[in-house]
């Protein structure tokens, strides 16, 4: 019984230690990743994305929607 509890305590200490160690290393890895990614894959300006929905009026939306519908019907 006491032996079981002892291994339980040890498991708790080792376990929480590993969980913390693992996630701390993951934090480090994420930071490294962030640095590398922003150096080698610089993010394209967000403005590109915003323009997309702008120029189009409602009737075009309807037209596009018809097209999409036909496309989906055919390609399902």
């Amino acid at each position: 019984m006491t032996e079981l509890i002892t291994s339980g305590v040890e498991l708790m200490l080792v376990g929480m230690g590993i969980v913390y160690a693992f996630l701390v290393m993951l934090i480090a890895a994420i930071h490294v990743m962030g640095v590398l990614v922003s150096r080698f894959f610089p993010e394209p300006s967000i403005i590109d994305g915003l323009v997309v929905n702008n120029g189009i009026d409602q009737s075009s939306v309807a037209a596009i929607s018809v097209a999409v519908h036909q496309y989906r019907t055919k390609h399902k």
Binding site: L11, G15, M16, I27, A29, G34
Partner: protein, 375 residues
């Protein structure tokens, strides 16, 4: 008349054992909770129905040759929980966590619920009639991970006999998160702390979201390969989704495939709710320990956030620490709700998603520790 007699001898009325009746009532209770109380119905409805089916006398639906015995193979082999984890991975957005990696510490802290419960399970052995082995204790403790497939996977490996009770406890307490967590969160925080607004998150690029599951997998491989089946399938689902190049696969993984496996898994878990295995003192112990696990995990998550606030310049609202238990996405919603209560401009949902998914990783890591150290 021989036939009528034969038929009478094959009726349920003639063959019922008290235990079966009780377990069917447990099944009906689970259905009630699922349908009327909206307790994790996606799992508890199939589990409840599986419990009913497997306790029907004579029919032998969960016995060798019955349909539930075949479905159970998917749990015994570990395939079902891993496929569900893959689907969950395909549904998970690591963005909020990558935007604020510190929140991983909250996900780590909340796993203390697991290990405290392990100790608690072993301590319960002083009660006469309870005899949890280290394996049993580890399988019970994982309830504190607040993550269904992880709990089922670990239980199926370490203590298949307790699988039914563990799964029921895990999903029930996940459903109860909106009731269990708030009092603890309120007790451990001041209204001022709960009002803390957090800085807007940075934008996370698509490239980071693609690379992260691979980084996570590599780290798991290097440090804790025993967690690799769980983490690996999760990362695979996540990569399918994040990469955007296999949309038809990731959609199927996150919809039809996970639905099919959920139906089968739920019924199969239910088939482990037999009177022999469930109507024991152990089950009461498991239910009690599970509740404690959730409470401790919530508390340590909140406390960790408060500690971090001591050492960090950018403030963290301690409420999001409670989301570290995982129970995605209920725990994050609870944090959001309490934040709004304290300060109507305080939207914590996105901030809480960080520790929330960190909790999934944390409990998979804890599962790996248990699987590799407990034999």
């Amino acid at each position: 008349m021989g036939n009528l007699n034969l038929l009478w001898q094959s009726t349920g009325i003639h063959n019922f054992q008290a235990g079966q009746v009780l377990m069917m009532l447990v099944g009906f209770l689970l259905l009630f909770l699922a349908i009327k109380k909206d307790f994790e119905p996606l799992l508890l409805l199939p589990i409840g129905f599986g419990a009913i089916l497997s306790n029907i006398p004579v029919a032998g639906i969960a016995e060798e040759g019955g349909i539930l015995s075949y479905l159970y193979l998917g749990i015994k082999t570990g395939v079902f929980p891993l496929l569900i984890f893959m689907g969950v991975g395909a549904m998970t957005d690591f963005g909020p966590m990558l935007a604020n990696p510190k929140t991983l510490l909250l996900g780590a802290a909340a796993q203390f619920g697991i290990f405290a419960t392990l100790l608690g399970a072993l301590a319960l052995n002083i009660i006469p009639g309870l005899e949890f082995t280290l394996k049993d204790a580890a399988a019970i403790a994982i309830i504190g991970g607040a993550d269904g497939p992880t709990a089922i996977y670990v239980a199926s490996r370490l203590a298949p006999d307790l699988l039914g009770a563990i799964a029921v406890a895990a999903y029930s307490y996940m459903a109860l998160v909106p009731l269990i967590q708030p009092p603890i969160m309120r007790a451990l925080t001041t209204p001022e702390e709960r009002s803390i607004e957090m800085q807007q998150m940075r934008n996370v690029s698509k490239v980071e979201k693609i690379i992260f599951p691979l980084v996570l997998l590599v780290l798991t491989t290097l440090l804790l390969p025993s967690a690799a089946p769980l983490v690996g399938m999760f990362c695979f689902g996540n990569l399918m989704n994040a990469s955007g190049v296999v949309e038809r696969l990731s959609k199927t993984a996150a919809n039809e495939l996970i639905n099919i496996v959920t139906i089968f898994l739920g019924l199969a878990v239910g088939s482990k709710l037999s009177a022999d295995a469930f109507l024991k003192l152990e089950t009461l112990g498991i239910l009690a320990l599970g509740a404690i696990a959730f409470c401790i995990g919530t508390a340590t998550g909140v406390i960790m956030a408060k500690i971090m606030n001591r050492f960090s310049s950018t403030p963290i609202n301690p409420l999001i620490g409670a989301a570290g238990v995982s129970a995605v996405p209920m725990a994050a919603r609870v944090a959001n709700k309490l934040g709004l209560e304290a300060n109507p401009h305080n939207f914590l949902l996105m901030h809480a998603m960080g520790p929330n998914v960190a909790g999934v990783i944390g409990s998979a890591v804890a599962a790996g520790v248990l699987l590799s150290l407990v034999h």
